[in-house]
Each structure stands twice: as C-alpha cells, then as structure tokens.
Amino acid sequence: MRKVVAVAVREFIETVKTKAFLVSALVMPLLVGGAVSGFGWISRSITAGELPPRRIAVVDYSGVVFGELARQCEAYNREHPRRQLLVAATAAADADTLAKTVREGEWHAYLIVPADVVDADTACEFGRKDIQFETGVQLQNMVNEAVFTARCRRTDPPIDPESVRELQRSAAIRTIDVQTGEEAGDEAARMVTPFVFMFLLFMATLGISNGLLTTVIEEKSSRVVEVLLSAISPLQLMAGKILGMAAVGLAMLSVWGGVGYASAHASGAGHLVTGYRVTYALLYFLPGFLLLSSLLAGIGSACNTIKDAQGMAFPLSLITIVPMFCWMYISQSPASTVSVALSFIPPMTPFVMILRVCADPHTPIWQIVASLALLWASVVVAMWASAKIFRVGVLMYGKPPSPRELFHWLRHA
C-alpha cells in the first residue's frame, strides 16, 4: 500500500506541475469567467453603446403613421442621447431611387409605409445596408406602435391607446424554489444548472482520465515501465496511477467548483449550488472516474502511441459524450423513458444521473441506488479487465492489439 501511495504521489505532483494542468485548472475558469463577463459587456454595448445619428427617409403613403413614428423616435432619442434615430418625411419616390440614396450614403436607411397599412396587412418596406441588431428591432417596434395608435383612433368611438396598454400590463410573478425557500431568480440560470454540474463532472473525469492514457504511454515509450515493474506489481502500478489521477481530478473539481460557486454567488445564482447537488456530484464522481480511468489505463497500456490509443478510446469517448449532446432533453424531461434508459448505460451513467438529480429532486431513490450499484459493479469489471490487459500490454511493443487479441489477453493473462 505504501508503494501504491508513492506512485500516486508522484503521479499527482508530476501532473499538477504540467502546463496542461495549470492551463485547465487555473486559466480555463478565468477564461470562462472572462468570456461570460465579456459577453455581458458586448450585449450591453449592443443596446447602449455610442452610435452616430442614423437618418432614415420615410415615405408615408398612409398619412397617419409618420406623426406617431416621429413622436416615438423623439422619446427614444431622449433616453438614448448617444444613439439618435432620426426620421424625416420624404417626398414620394420609388424604392429603386431610395435604395440608391441609401447605397450612396445620403440616408442611413429608408422606410416605405403603404397606403392601406392600417386596414390590410400589406408589408412596409425597410431598406437598409447595416447589420445593427438594435436598429431593426427598434424601428419595427416603433412602426407597430404607430400603426396600433392609428388603428385605435380609427375605431368608433376612438379608443385611447394608453388605456389599452394599461390593460395589457403583464402580471408580476415571483418564482420560489421550494427546495431552498428562496427566490428562484433567472430562468436561464435555473435551466443550465444541471448542465454546469454535468460539465464539471465531465472535465474532472474524462478530461483527467485522458491524462492517464498519456502517462501510461509515456512510461511505455520511455521504457521506464519495466524498471517500475522490478519494484512493484503491474496492479500496484495501475492502482497508484489511478489514485494519483483521482486526486488530480478532485483538485480540479475543487478549483472549478470553487470558482463556479464564487461566480454563482456574485451573479446572484448562489442558491442554485445546493448541498444536495454537490453531494450527488461527488457521489457520482468517484465511480465515474474509476470506471473511465481504469478503462483508459487498460487502453493506454495496450498501445504505444497516443494516436493508436485515441483511436482505441474513440468508441468510449463517443458514448460518454452522448449526455453532452442531449443534456437539454434529459434535464427538461428527467423522468422520461429515454432518460431513465440512458442512466443505465455505464459510461454515461454519472453524467445522465447528475443531469437528472439536478433537474428533478424527486428522482426515484431506487434509480439512484440502482445506477450507483451498476456503476460500482462496472468499476469492478473494468478494473479486473484492465488489470489483465495492463499486465500483458504494458510490456508489449509494436502494433496495437486487435479486439480479438485483447479478448485473448483477458482469457489467458
């Protein structure tokens, strides 16, 4: 046991020292955090950043829209002094002429309002060359408002548009999370919470286990492995490496988890990080990690190059990546037959289950127990098989074995 610990300690120290680890453990959260706040900054600048005044030529054949449109514009410009939207009524002209003036830069855009816009659904024509998201949206809203106001005035007796708006005021809703008794906050944050937990688990298991593939192959190709085997058994070596890497995974999980928790708190979503969710993340981390890492250690030991090993690990990666693609479906319908079925396909189990328990606190306990039992059983099988393959493979050089040869190793090692 002392030797297994010695192997684990070396594995941990050497991995934590590498640039790849530093990048993924420290730089990545900073980058992700940076990207999130950067995204906020970008979206703010889309709606509030400074823009030169945009002059729009309006040809109003209906005669009832322009007045209200100009009023809307003034109201907008009062609120956004640094991004003025200027409309000017223009003499009738055909679309081609107007388009030419826009192309030549005389106007920013043009708007043709048809004569029957209030009664029929004839389209207004908005000619532009920019791609500013907000310009289009604003103009659309303003035209809508202007047409709505014109329609109100045309009814008999006329209706006050303000009173209609007052009647349409939306009802206020306060969402409470009954698990915590607190205000539930942002819908989007609630929706992605299961994904965030699954992603953490994914990084800490598959991301780190892949490191195991690399170190096993490094030890093989540097021929250090037989020197090691002169002092310890293949099983001790494998156990030590997996243990060391599990510690790396836990370290990674705590750094990411810590950063995640801190940023969740900072953005007012701290209540989504519950003890319940963290407990399950850890409960599924351990067997999930052991399963993937023992499989990858076996694969690594059978191969001599990273390329061969990745080729052999491809089906495994493919299976584990499935929950990544259908996280939305699983977290939105955690109790559906498909979600339940996917929970019982071992390499996927931890990821699917964490999605489900995070999405639905009432996941049947028997499913949690059964999926954990299945996971641990497959850990035992995977370790047994990998230990056998490891014993033979670690001293084999040359072409990677075919599935048939691997099976032979399992039977005869």
Binding site: R2, K3, R10, R223, E226, V227, S230, A231, R391
Partner: protein, 322 residues
C-alpha cells in the same frame, strides 16, 4: 550451500510460440551466473518470470525461498534490458522515487543515495534532470536504481550495452563489490568476454532450452577441439585451405584456425612460415564466443533436420558436431 534461485521445468508460451521450454536452473547463494544466449533465446522472458512480471504456464520458480518474486521484491534488484528514466525528474528525485518503491525510507534512503552517487561519480549531477545526462551516465543511474536497496539477488539484463570501456570497468568493479557483499548475481549478456571474466558459472540457452551449463573450466574442457592462433604479417588466407583446417577466422594480422582431430599443427606452422612473418603461434581451447557460435549454430541445424526432439538429444547432437 543454499539456493537463492531455483527454476524447475519452467515453460512459457505466447500463443503457439514456446518462448521457454522446460527450463531448469539452480543458482546457489553468492554465485555470479552468466545467463547467455542469442537474441530471442528466451533470456528476457525467463528473467521476467523470475521477477514475476509474467507468470510461467508450467513449472515452479523459487526466489529466496518464496514461490513468487513479488513477495520478496525488496530483496531483489533488477536491471531490465528495456530500461528508461523519467526525463523530467532530477537524478535525486528519481532515486528517491525508486528507493521508496523498493522499501527504503527517510535517512537510510538519503544515505544510500549519497553513497551510490559518489561511487558512480554522479554526485555533481544530483539536481540535474535525467534528460541532461549522457547515455553512459543514464546507464550508471539505472544500475544504481537496481542496487540502491542492497539486494541479496541481483539480476542484470545486458548491463554493459551502450557503455564505454571505462564505464564497463567501473560497472564490473561494482558487480564484483556486490559479490563481495555476498550478493548473488545473474548476468545476462551478449558480451562473451565480459561473461568469461566475471562469471563463476555459465548457462547457455537457445530457443527456450538449456544448451549447456557449467563453470568456464568445465565447459571449455568439454570442447577438445584445438584452435591454432597465428599472429604476424602475411597472407593468412592461404592457410585456410590446408588439410585439417575445419574452419577459420582470418584478419590481416591474425588467424584463428580450428583443427580437426587428426591434424598436425607443426605441418601448418611450416606452411605459415612460408606465407607470413610470424610473431605468435599458439594452440588454444576454443573461447566462450566460439563455443557459443558452435552450439547455437548446431542447434539450428538440428532443428532444420529434425523438428521436435528432446532437448537432451539436442545438446548431444551439438556435441557430436564438434
């Protein structure tokens, strides 16, 4: 004398290929045993079975009185033929790591590391990464890893490969010192000259079977063939066609002629005087290299003529061809 290592009818197959075939061996305590054989003879496979890295299909192995080396790994030192180092670790870290894996700790470990590094003149390289070491230094470091824990049994697989003559001498001294400290040594090598000088006893294997076993003296006395050694300047090539010369190895300065039983060396000397200015004329027994080449070559011929006979008759056949 107690036996440190015993193999009884050990067999190992890889698929249909039999790498080691009913191989038996006894190594008494304190002996330096030369374990010789051509490439692919089954030496490394045998050694790996002794180290319980792989397991035999049949037969018994006993290491220091235990059926498995895994139970006594801390008392056995092993220098594998395929050996490497962690390139990014320093010499000191490397030795500490392997020392711990071999059951050394704390002060005893530090003391041994200092002692060994001094002995192989690597003390100034302690803080350097192993990738900065020359090939010879790396070899010495690997040797130190194998003997760090002062093992009772040391198994060295091709310890001299890649070393310069000075380092070979140093390594031989170190192996001698191991012996002085009553360690038992199993030395696998292709370098017959080293084996001849270092080993108390020789075992020669080919295709997984034992061809011959004994002390240098015993082995050489079994080969009664006379070797005629001539040195000097001249055309030795012409001597190879003389009657009584079975085979010959000729360079510009030397000829080694194998004589058949009835040949008269003085007749050859007479011819030699005509073709060359001689500085040396000597009749010798064949050296280990020649015995090795002959035995392995004969073993191959036997196989080509008659597959699947007893290993005993194979050795007999090899002797007959002498």
């Amino acid at each position: 004398m107690t036996e440190v290592l015993t193999l009884t009818d050990v067999t190992k197959r890889f698929g249909r290929f039999t790498a080691v075939d009913r191989f038996s061996l006894r190594v008494p305590a304190g002996e330096v045993l030369g374990f010789l054989g051509p490439n692919g003879a089954g030496k490394t496979t045998t050694i790996r079975m002794v180290m319980s890295i792989i397991y035999p299909d049949e037969g018994e192995i006993s290491v220091l009185g235990h059926p498995r080396a895994s139970q006594v790994k801390d008392r056995v030192g092993y220098l594998p033929e395929e050996r490497g180092l962690y390139r990014k670790m320093t010499v000191d870290q490397t030795l500490r790591y392997f020392g711990r894996l071999k059951g050394l700790h704390g002060h005893a470990l530090s003391r041994r590391i200092a002692e060994c590094l001094e002995r192989v003149e690597l003390q100034d390289w302690r803080r350097k990464r192993t990738e900065a070491l020359s090939k010879g230094m790396q070899q010495k470091l690997q040797f130190v890893i194998a003997i760090l824990h002062e093992p009772e049994l040391v198994i060295l697989d091709e310890p001299f490969s890649g070393l310069d003559p000075l380092n070979i001498e140093l390594l031989k001294e170190l192996i001698g010192e191991l012996h002085g400290g009553r360690a038992t040594v199993v030395l696998s090598t292709h370098q017959m000259e080293q084996a001849q000088r270092l080993c108390d006893r020789i075992v020669l294997i080919n295709r997984g079977r034992k061809l011959i076993e004994g002390t240098m003296h015993e082995i050489r006395s079994r080969f009664t063939t006379r070797m005629l050694v001539l040195e000097g300047e001249g055309d030795f090539e012409r001597l190879t066609r003389l009657p009584g010369v079975v085979s010959a190895h000729v360079t510009t300065a030397q000829a080694r002629l194998e004589l058949d039983d009835g040949a008269d060396p003085s007749a050859i000397l007479k011819h030699a005087v005509d073709v060359a200015r001689l500085t040396r004329f000597e009749i010798q027994r064949p050296d280990l290299q020649e015995i090795f080449v002959r035995l392995v070559g004969a073993d191959r011929q036997v196989d080509a003529g008659d597959a699947g006979d007893e290993p005993g008759s194979r050795v007999a056949a090899a002797r007959r061809t002498n």
